[in-house]
Symmetry: C2
Subunit: 288 residues, 2 copies
């Protein structure tokens, strides 16, 4: 299938969707993005994603150049309409664009806005998962970039840290890399947040650690509270996963993806994970 | 002046030099580059730059996809010829290109190679500096990304760390940001290596710290040795710059750029800096 992307205000065939090589997104990864899931034509958690995009751009010093949320939403809707998609993966990118000079950013920003899209199966109660099976996690040596170097709560085009983490998994049967902070605490996966159950409590690394506090992570915490499952955020060493009764990872595309392997250890898919998946599916079903 | 860039094997006008939005260089900063200075039609320290580009690509796991050095050199030469330039700034970028899937890199790489160019004045003994005046340094809070997160000796398209450092200087009269390592030692500028003179010794942070060991940095160390100036690499705290008798920064474009201000303190341009500049100019003169 050949998609239309939205680039700088125009819909263009994906193969012809380009940016200038002087775009700072290309030269320096100087941009921010959001990955969204579209259910029944509606972007899930749109406001939370739009807010985070705004905050990421503010961290990068061009928050004032972000088009109004309504204009961004219009581009999203136009892209979905042009591709006749109601269930989709959608990525919304904004970069500092082309500027004169070299590394030092100019205050005058004409941003580059790109909307990428691709079809996904229908989700919800009768839906289909986007992943082939549960995740297998490998804890890697690569450390998460500390906040003091690049704030982890900004979702930017600088993604080499996660790429290097995933490269460590080459040749193994793991498909998600779990990184720790410099001081050795579990942080997050290359593209996911980590959850695990131990002693009946659902636990996830605290956002005080260098991690992107995912929007799906927030939804899952709310669902757990509604289900009377105690939730704790904290600092955990990797060994704790070996004692966990359940493990899962989350992101906007995967939703809640069970984990059945952590390094050499097998984990079963347990009742907390299944219950949360069911609740998530019901929430999504309301979009259809 | 309208330049021709070399993109994926073809010369194109700079305004039409584009990459697909799915290029991993754009989406993730998943690429490496070199910035070179061209003197009298010859790339300065070509082999050192080509070697480092190779090493950067190896760090990113696509060293095998880099075209042979002779093919890269051909693109460089074609770009210079098409633009009729013999004194120039030249940037050679290579990214992992467009791949199926998402973050996990595919082993099969069709890289995107881009050569950027722009005119510079003639350098050497009778030459002209590219900078308007000496540099003013501001030491910033932003910490250099540690090697354990992303190896600093790879020159990649992930440049937000340096951009955030430069943003801290907004509203000040400083034009280069000096970052420290997490443990508080001077590392490097956003786009330059740092040198200073104290007790008659030329000092520069050790490459054991998270910094890009610049090619100009190596040239300058050799020139200092030839001039019988003792050279030391080490771990230095920022305060040491307040006692330095001379300070300068180096990169391929700036060559040796004297520093006359470090935070609130003025520094004079001293004899070691001037002597090294003279030696550098003489070295460059051999290209004309």
């Amino acid at each position: 299938m050949s998609y239309q992307y939205h680039v700088d205000g125009e819909l263009v065939p994906a193969a012809e969707a380009t940016v200038n090589v002087r775009d700072r997104g290309f030269m320096y990864g100087d941009g921010a993005f959001e990955t969204l899931r579209i259910y029944g034509g509606e972007p899930f958690e749109w406001e939370a994603h739009a807010d985070r995009l705004q905050r990421s751009c503010e961290t990068l010093g061009f928050g004032n150049a972000l088009p109004p949320v309504s204009a961004l939403r219009e581009r999203v809707d136009e892209t979905l309409a042009a591709n006749e998609l109601s269930d989709a993966y959608l990525k919304l990118s904004i970069t500092r664009g082309v500027q004169p000079g070299k590394l030092t950013p100019d205050e005058d920003v004409d941003p580059t806005v790109v909307v990428y899209v691709s079809e996904l199966p229908r989700a919800g109660v009768e839906g289909q998962r986007v992943w082939d099976g549960p995740a297998s996690l490998g804890t890697v040596e690569r450390e998460r970039v500390p906040d003091e170097a690049i704030p982890a709560d900004a979702k930017t085009h600088n993604y080499l840290n996660g790429i290097l983490a995933r490269l460590e998994l080459r040749g193994s049967d793991h498909d998600e890399a779990i990184m720790c902070s410099r001081d050795g605490y579990l942080a997050e996966g290359a593209t996911s947040n980590l959850f695990f159950v131990s002693d009946g409590t659902l636990r996830t690394p605290t956002a005080d650690l260098p991690l992107l506090p995912g929007i799906t992570r927030d939804v899952v915490r709310s669902l757990a509270e509604a289900a009377d499952v105690p939730v704790e955020t904290g600092r955990y060493e990797p060994d704790i996963l070996q004692q966990a009764s359940e493990v899962f990872v989350t992101n906007s595309t995967w939703e809640i993806r069970p984990v059945t392997q952590v390094d050499d250890k097998s984990v079963a898919v347990g009742p907390v994970t299944s219950d949360l998946q069911e609740r998530f599916d019901k929430l999504v079903e309301s979009f259809y």
